[in-house]
Amino acid sequence: MTALAHASSAKSRSTPGAAVHGQQHPIALYLLVWVLLFVLSACSYLVDYFNFHGELRWGLIILFMLLKAGLIVAVFMHMAWERLALVAAILVPPLAVLVFVGAMALEGGYTNITRQVFFAAATQSRAVEH
């Protein structure tokens, strides 16, 4: 059994380039992803260059960001070819961060309101007094 495995591994060693084991995928695919990442980065740069505002700006920024992140994780980090158990163990926990983001966004907004009510008003009234 071991001898057989040795024989097959020796054979695979003698033919470099053959898809033996590990994450080996065509270089053309990597080059394609590389070009796509360039294009997507250029697009997100142009969002700033053309000075888009409001929901259009945010929609485009997040769209390009997610596409780039997805390409890097799926192809460069070989997630597309991993077992679902590993993919779930890696991708599900960071989704919990979204809850944290939501909580802190509420917190940030609340702090901003209290600052505007108490501090900004106080600064203005002091400015009037002097």
């Binding site: 084991h21 920024i61 901003n112």
Partner: protein, 241 residues
């Protein structure tokens, strides 16, 4: 783990279900949970997930201070603009840094391919190219930091507006730059081993008595692509917001 056990693993894997029932089978396993990933790769993924939480904390706290301050936030588009040929181009340095890091990710992916194909000289050269682009990135960041420090940006304040801008900038880009720098060092160490043929002879790897395998290049690649991935989020949230 040696080459023949990888062969056996593929045979075991062929019998295991895929999809959701595969997740249940893998997670209820009395052996290794992640049948297609070695311990080395699994541990790198665990590290990267923990690092995700660290960078998430930085970006979330940045969001919180930016949302809560009543002082106007500096406009990154203008602050990171450069004068090129007498014309002020917004955010251009950051765009160049982004393209540089993407390119380094591309060369790294190709290095992994060559390593598994056992073309060690090509793999080592691709890793050296990756290290070169990484070092260039850190160089541009050093330039960016110098420029901002000269303009008076400090962790406790800056002349353009909200004081928190300085602390967020140095913390987030500093931590990312540190990751890139460490990556460059490890790339050089592993590229040297690949070039010498250490993994052809299964020589013990760096920091360990275990026999080295070409999988280390893929594990190194996971780290490197992660650094690129983090930059995608920093670029979107810190520079474009």
């Amino acid at each position: 783990m040696s080459v023949e056990s990888v062969g056996q693993k593929t045979a075991v894997e062929a019998q295991r279900p895929s999809g959701v029932s595969g997740v249940v089978a893998d997670w209820s396993s009395d052996q290794r949970s992640f049948k297609s990933a070695s311990w080395g790769k699994t541990m790198m993924w665990i590290f990267l997930v923990s690092d995700t939480f660290i960078f998430s904390c930085f970006l979330v706290s940045y969001m919180t201070v930016r949302m809560s301050t009543t002082v106007p936030w500096p406009n990154p588009s203008e602050i990171f603009a450069l004068d090129i040929g007498g014309k002020k181009i917004p955010l251009i340095l950051i765009a160049i840094m982004t393209f540089d890091l993407i390119t380094s990710s591309g060369t790294m992916a190709i290095a992994v391919n060559y390593a598994y194909a056992r073309e060690r000289r090509k793999a080592a050269l691709m890793m050296l190219a990756t290290a070169f682009f990484g070092a260039t990135f850190v160089g541009m960041q050093a330039f960016e930091w110098t420029k901002l420090i000269q303009e008076g940006v400090r962790p406790w304040g800056n002349p353009f507006g909200a004081a928190q801008f300085g602390s967020c900038f140095f913390m987030i880009t500093g931590f990312h730059g540190f990751h890139v720098s460490m990556g460059v060092i490890f790339l050089l160490i592993i590229a040297r081993s690949v070039w010498r043929g250490d993994y052809d002879r299964a020589k013990p790897g760096f920091f360990t008595g275990r026999r080295g395998r070409y999988e280390i290049v893929e594990i190194m690649g996971l780290y490197w692509h992660f650094v690129d991935l983090v930059w995608v989020f920093i670029f979107a949230f810190f520079y474009l917001w």
